[in-house]
């Protein structure tokens, strides 16, 4: 009775050209479907995690903290406090009698041990049920310790990752505007939705430095509490990974009038366009910025393009499947793969919106499969159906590709190789090349069935 795509999931899969566009999304995950999604807590945790001089205390039983200890490749140029895993480690008695006392004692103890610039306290499923007044505890501790102590309302069951992003943005927004914003250049930006995986934020910051644009705060890669407190002084918010931080940008626009623009630092066009957008924005203030930016992009591309062309010779015509968290990445990667002569034939995300999918359908080739909130069996079927050469995803997707003898590129937040910026595009191409060109695929049973049958026969005959 096995069925790869459950009936209730069919409206979340679209094949371009075979039917008019219609996709359901932003639904709760289906029970028993083995979704690749996590929970509200996960959404908050990934967004706030890289703020390196803050204390991140998970209020709940131990699992939520254990599974997120040092999980991201988000690096800091200074403090490393974010890489420790703090938990109130709630026990049965705390669940019965309430966890507020333990939370308060934990906070005081950890703040005195580590002297953080702020503390984020994450609510987990259980806290939502036992009704701890986190807000009151945080307020008390903040008053006594003199640092901001911010509750993050991220009870796991109260939605999916997106609600977690919202909770994170709300928590950060309480910091914004509490710092002194004097002395900030009129040509200044905040980098939102970049997490400095493998130092990616530094690559982007270097471009802005060359353009003469000041970066006030990284939100949140290599992030600092004091920067976020004064980031309302920036002239413009640049929002990547829109799912995660768009809400913060909107809140800042409403409160401080800070305009925002959507950007992406992945791929060739999107990276260049993002820089040009910033140059255009500041063109009135600095008529020479456009020329500087054009020169910057020209220099980068003249270095990058010949190298890409070389790799493209090997990669031309190969087929790609990708499954990502938010869909912004999918847009950029589809374009990036075109530079490598590769075709994206399956694209999906955990938390895309209907507009995202519609746009994806518009820029993708006919026949491409678009999927929302997929699961291992669906992804495996799509890989086979489209006979893909390489899969782009995260750790949970890796074994799906590998078991079928298909190449893989980790484009998730655990990655240790910078894939953003022009240099990142080259790293990305090399990653794809290293997987696709490995000689191992030719030995896989799926590619050489005769050999496999032979081996199976031998095994049976002993």
């Amino acid at each position: 009775m096995s069925q790869t795509i459950l009936d209730e999931r069919k409206s979340q899969v679209h094949r371009i050209g075979e039917e008019p566009f219609a996709m359901a999304c932003n639904r709760p995950s289906l029970a028993g479907a083995v979704s690749q999604r996590a929970c509200v807590f996960c959404g908050s945790r990934v967004v706030l995690y890289p703020i390196a001089d803050a204390l991140h205390l998970v209020h709940g039983p131990i699992g939520c903290a254990t599974y997120t200890w040092d999980i991201r490749g988000a690096i800091s140029s200074g403090p490393q406090l974010h890489r420790l895993s703090f938990s109130t480690d709630l026990q049965e008695m705390d669940v019965i009698f309430g966890g507020e006392k333990k939370l308060e004692a934990s906070l005081r103890e950890l703040i005195s041990l580590h002297s953080p610039k702020a503390a984020f306290v994450y609510s987990t499923c259980i806290v939502g049920l036992i009704g701890d007044d986190m807000e009151a505890v945080c307020r008390r501790v903040a008053a006594d310790t003199g640092i901001p102590v911010l509750p993050v309302m991220s009870e796991g069951f109260k939605g999916n990752k997106r609600e977690g992003y919202t909770a994170a943005c709300k928590a950060m927004f309480r910091l914004v505007g509490t710092g002194d914003a004097t002395g900030i250049s009129p040509m200044s930006v905040n980098i939102l939705g970049d997490f400095n995986l493998a130092g990616e934020t530094w690559i982007v910051r270097e471009y802005f430095r060359k353009m003469g644009v000041e970066v006030v705060a990284n939100v949140t890669g290599d992030g600092r509490v004091d920067d976020i407190r004064r980031c309302h002084g920036a002239a413009l918010n640049l929002v990547q990974c829109s799912g995660a931080t768009m809400e913060l940008a909107k809140m800042m626009q409403a409160e401080y009038g800070t305009p925002y623009q959507r950007v992406s630092y992945l791929g060739v066009e999107d990276m260049a366009d993002s820089l040009y957008k910033v140059a255009d924005f500041f063109a009135d203030q600095d008529p020479t910025i456009k020329a500087r930016t054009v020169e910057l992009v020209r220099a980068e591309l003249s270095d990058l393009m010949p190298k890409l062309a070389e790799l493209r010779q090997d990669l031309e015509g190969k087929k790609v499947a990708m499954y990502v968290g938010g869909s912004f990445k999918a847009f950029s990667l589809i374009k990036a793969f075109r530079h490598l002569g590769m075709r994206v034939v399956v694209v999906g995300s955990q938390t895309g919106t209907e507009e995202d999918y519609k746009e994806l359908a518009e820029i993708s080739d006919p026949g491409t499969i678009i999927v929302d909130d997929a699961n291992p069996l669906e992804l495996a079927q799509f890989i086979k159906e489209k006979d893909v050469d390489v899969f782009v995803g995260g750790v949970k997707e890796r074994p799906i590709a590998y078991k079928l003898g298909v190449g893989f590129c980790d484009h998730n937040h655990e990655r240790k190789i910078a894939l953003e910026g022009f240099v990142g595009m080259y790293n990305f191409a090399r990653e794809i090349h290293a997987s696709v060109m490995s000689p191992v695929w030719r030995f896989m049973p799926r590619r050489s069935p005769a050999r496999a049958a032979c081996a199976a026969k031998e095994a049976v005959n002993g």
């Binding site: 096995s2 459950l6 131990i62 699992g63 499923c125 049920l129 069996l377 799906i400 590998y402």
Partner: protein, 450 residues
């Protein structure tokens, strides 16, 4: 003595449902099912996959706010139906989470209702285990799941047979493979529960399998009541009645308990237990391996004598490691587990009594902050444990001998052999080489012979 903290920093444990999920991964055609919010399943899958590099499908009832208020029964039932539609599943292992334990979901009742409602379908075996994550560690969840399987799947004594139930605890797939092969060599037919040897370290596929091959067949679990005996490694997390106890009480299957067979003496003890069921003497291979192990212990003894080790991890595993380290002349100076356990200290002391002159600092309920604080004055030369000790090893500039689970920063953790004389020898080589490598690296002239 280090300070006693209220908070936990860098935990040396995982949560209870994790252990249950791992046990269910070791049953043939089984799907672990976490009754709770979607994140639990996804986080655990990611954590497990990073170690084993195998597909790990764990279903979830994906509870939302409504279920938290009105109960998770409908989602649980719908979820099991969906698992049945997608997988040719012979067993669904339902483990609760902090969410469903706190709202008071009666999973046993839901499953009974499910069996009645869908009695027209051919239903898989449905097993449930209570694993509130605020109570115990992943090992309590592990032992509770094994116990639930013995309690709920073994329904009658059945036909008496000469097979032996082996409840090995949490080891590596390489260990489970070794134990199966050892049974074959010794002429003992094991029903090993669970068996992650293939499910978590499988072969490449020509077509995608919805579930991996391998695992303890459900039919064999059903027949455990008729076995000649049960051999259980370790202390079963201090359960009032372990799985072996259940089989003994209900079906009169005699239970034998022994230390995890890591190192010489613990393996000797296990071989003695095995001999009670086996028709022959120690198999030739194991006799040779034992001899080789002793030979190596002599060849290498001076390199490692008196080296000071910090050992941490799950209590049964750590007790067995200590027994091994002590007998080869390594001095454990700090022995820690994340579990709360009033048995731990006595078990470690007992394992070291014969072979060590001084006893280590022994800590239960420890996190890595405690371990770090305790280790500060102890001048350790080595760390022995899973990969989460890396931070400390790096700070102290001492080698970390990676064993157990999880190993997230090296390749092939699923293939580390710990048990048997062969496993002891492999660990011995790694230990000695770690010491040699460090002294060579730090030697100003860098000798080429050591």
């Amino acid at each position: 003595m280090a300070e006693n903290y209220v908070s936990t920093t860098n935990a040396c444990k995982m949560c209870t449902p994790m252990g249950a999920a791992l046990v269910f991964k070791g049953i043939e055609n089984a799907v672990p099912f976490l009754h709770g919010s979607q994140g639990c399943a996804t986080y655990m899958r990611r954590y497990i996959i990073s170690h084993y590099r195998e597909p790990v499908d764990i279903a979830s009832s994906a509870l939302g706010e409504k279920s938290a208020v009105y109960g998770g029964g409908p989602n649980l039932k719908k979820g099991i139906l969906n698992v049945m539609r997608k997988y040719d599943v012979s067993l669904v292992g339902v483990a609760t989470t902090c969410l469903t334990e706190t709202i008071g979901d009666d999973v046993g009742r839901y499953l009974n209702e499910f069996r009645e409602e869908f009695s027209d379908l051919s239903l898989p075996e449905l097993v449930h285990v209570s694993t509130p994550s605020y109570s115990g560690t992943h090992m309590e969840g592990w032992h509770a799941a094994v116990r639930s399987l013995a309690d709920q799947v073994v329904k009658e004594k059945g036909r008496a047979h000469d097979g032996v139930n082996l409840l090995p605890g949490f080891l590596s797939p390489a260990d489970y493979r070794f134990l199966k092969a050892l049974g074959e060599r010794a002429g003992v037919r094991f029903t090993m529960l669970p068996d992650l040897s293939e499910t978590m370290d499988g072969v490449i596929w020509d077509d995608y399998h919805s579930l991996p091959d391998g695992g303890t067949p459900v039919s064999e679990i059903r027949a455990m009541g008729g076995a000649a005996g049960t051999v259980e490694f370790g202390m079963s997390g201090g359960l009032f009645e372990s799985a072996a106890g259940v089989l003994d009480r209900k079906f009169g299957v005699p239970a034998r308990r022994t230390t995890m067979p890591i190192g010489l003496r613990a393996t000797d003890a296990f071989m003695d237990v095995l001999a009670e069921f086996a028709s022959c003497d120690m198999p030739a291979k194991d006799a040779f391996d034992r001899g080789r192990l002793l030979d190596a212990m002599v060849d290498g003894h001076k390199y490692i004598f008196g080296k000071r080790a910090v050992v941490y991890g799950e209590e049964d595993f750590v007790v067995a490691l200590c027994s091994f380290l002590g007998e080869i002349g390594v001095q454990p100076v700090l022995v820690a587990t994340g579990a709360k356990s009033d048995r731990f200290k006595a078990a470690v002391t007992n394992a070291l009594a014969e072979v060590c002159q001084t006893m280590p600092v022994i800590r239960d309920d420890a996190d890595f902050k405690d371990i770090e604080d305790e280790a500060a004055e102890l001048n350790p030369d080595l760390l022995v444990g899973h990969s989460k000790g890396y931070k400390l090893a790096r700070a102290k500039n001492i080698p970390l001998i990676r064993v157990g689970f999880p190993i997230h920063d090296r390749f092939g953790g699923q293939r580390i052999l710990h048990v048997g004389y062969e496993g002891a020898l492999a660990l011995y080589d790694r230990l000695v080489n770690a010491v040699l490598e460090k002294s060579q690296d730090e030697c100003p002239v860098g000798y080429g012979y050591l």
